[in-house]
């Protein structure tokens, strides 16, 4: 091998090894992440207020009927994976009624999803809790246990399930892919590190943004998106883009997740058919 080739190939090989090593390490580290009970912390001080002279909702859409707002059962611990899985099952039950036997997950008159009952939804939760091996190897669930458990439940009901990642190699959410999936009435499972979601209240002349800190790794279900532009006398001064999420918690069952949050472990379009 000539010296020139050596000088070119060796550094390339080194860089490739480094990237591959980092990627492998990252993948291994992420599979070790456990999703468990994470307190939701609301700040005591008043919200951030964004005053504007004009406000434009550039993008806004939700899945049909929004999303079920299920919450964890009392007899369960570290069950955010279970609740997210049940939420996804409840969402698709509208289209495949045997996913939750003997129960209709939505109101036929409005198409909106029902709050959970005390029999049929808990039955799904209990089954998923076991299928996902919650608290078996460690607290909560791993990403793999969450995905495998949910897939097994769906398969056992005679249906198929696919996961499509919408997180790029830099760890960022691919918003365009998310938007396309949500427009096609597919929900997205978000697996996050500790971070924030938001409660947005829209008033006359300003929006109030209340951050809610999720203090540990958590799994949520995205069912919509929302992008807003704020203007003042100087023109456009701020643009915020969110996914609308079902948190799996009560009383803050619905919230907004900023797409540029730097706490995403994984995100999957969940398609049941």
């Amino acid at each position: 091998m000539t010296k020139v080739r050596k000088f070119v190939l060796l550094p390339l090989l080194l860089v490739f090894s480094m990237i591959f090593g980092v990627a492998t390490f990252t993948a291994v580290a992420e599979t070790d992440i456990r999703y468990a009970d994470a307190p939701f912390i609301s700040p005591r001080s008043t919200s951030e207020k964004i005053y504007y002279t004009n406000r434009i909702e550039k993008l806004s859409n939700e899945t049909d009927g929004k999303c079920p707002r299920y919450r964890q059962l009392t007899n369960m611990t570290n069950a955010c994976g279970t609740v997210a899985g049940t939420t996804i099952v409840g969402f698709y039950d509208k289209y495949f009624p045997n996913l939750i036997p003997n129960w209709v997950s939505y109101y036929e008159a409005s198409g909106l999803y029902r709050l959970q009952d005390t029999t049929y939804v808990p039955a799904v939760m209990n089954e998923l809790y076991t299928l996902m091996r919650t608290n078996v190897d460690d607290v909560g669930v791993s990403e793999n246990d969450f995905k495998t458990g949910l897939q097994t439940y769906v398969n056992n009901r005679g249906h198929n399930l696919t996961y499509t990642s919408v997180r790029n190699w830099l760890g960022k959410l691919n918003f365009d892919e998310c938007k396309a999936a949500l427009d096609q009435n597919k929900v997205i499972a978000l697996l996050t590190k500790a971070g924030e979601v938001y409660d947005i209240s829209m008033y006359d002349g300003y929006d109030a943004i209340d951050p809610i800190t999720i203090s540990g790794a958590h799994i949520m279900v995205a069912y919509g998106y929302y992008q807003v532009e704020y203007y003042n006398a100087n023109g456009l001064f701020r643009t915020d883009t969110y996914l609308k999420v079902a948190t799996g918690r009560s009383p803050q069952s619905l919230a907004y997740y900023k797409i540029d949050s730097n706490n995403l472990n994984a995100a999957y379009i969940v398609n049941i058919y």
């Binding site: 609301s42 700040p43 005591r44 919450r71 109101y107 909106l112 709050l115 008033y203």
Partner: protein, 228 residues
């Protein structure tokens, strides 16, 4: 008489001895005068000291009694009036089979409630309690869904000494009004309506999503206060 005898005795002396005797007598008188003075001091000091000691004792007794009273009463009163701020992690919630009306009647709480139990499609009641004491209610939450209109009404009740982090959103209720004699604060956003008021030792937080009309939250407050 004795003084006269002494005087005669002095006068009977010759002048040289008379002066010597007088000097002795003066010395003696001076010595004797000391004792009457010290005796007087001794006699006055016990009386003053006794009075002072008595006063001190009385004061000390009163102070001690006051301190004792405070030591007993203060902790009780402070405990009763102490406000608390609860965050997620301090409490846990569970879905319960009873509604607010039933809970209030069973526990003699005299809470207000929204009597739409026969009108709505779904009711979900959750009881949130102190992790350290299951009988210590942090708040009770009741959601009522109208499946046809999509209207969702949420009623949350705490006692008036408890603040909860998830209820900070109601700090935005800035519009004040009086409904059925009760001061109520409300706010309307594009998505929902909020109201909060205090009545009979409890604080009420209301949220209405997909409201049927612009005055819906006020109507709900009126309906709740009508059962008082």
């Amino acid at each position: 008489m004795r003084e006269r005898d002494v005087h005669d005795l002095i006068e009977q002396q010759d002048p040289e001895h008379k002066q010597e005797l007088l000097d002795k007598i003066k010395v003696r008188i001076a010595e004797e005068n000391i004792f009457p003075q010290t005796q007087q001091n001794t006699e006055h000091k016990p009386v003053a000291a006794k009075k002072k000691n008595k006063l001190t004792l009385v004061i000390a007794s009163v102070v001690t009694a006051c301190l004792l009273c405070l030591a007993i009463v203060l902790p009780v009163t402070l405990t009763e009036t102490k406000n608390r701020y609860c965050v997620d992690g301090d409490y846990v919630g569970e879905i319960v089979s009873y509604n607010i009306k039933e809970y209030s009647e069973k526990n003699n709480k005299n809470m207000l409630y929204l009597d739409l139990y026969d009108s709505v499609d779904t009711i979900l009641t959750e009881f949130y309690y102190n992790l350290k004491d299951r009988n210590d209610m942090i708040f009770i939450s009741e959601e009522m869904e109208n499946g046809t209109t999509g209207e969702l009404i949420k009623v949350i009740i705490t006692d008036n000494k408890t603040r909860v982090d998830v209820l900070n959103k109601w700090n935005n209720c800035e519009k004040k009004s009086v409904i059925c004699g009760v001061s109520v604060q409300t706010v309307k956003t594009e998505i929902f309506m909020l109201a909060t008021f205090e009545y009979n030792g409890f604080r009420y937080y209301l949220q209405v999503d997909n409201a049927a009309n612009q005055n819906r939250v006020t109507e709900i407050v009126e309906q709740m206060l009508a059962v008082k």
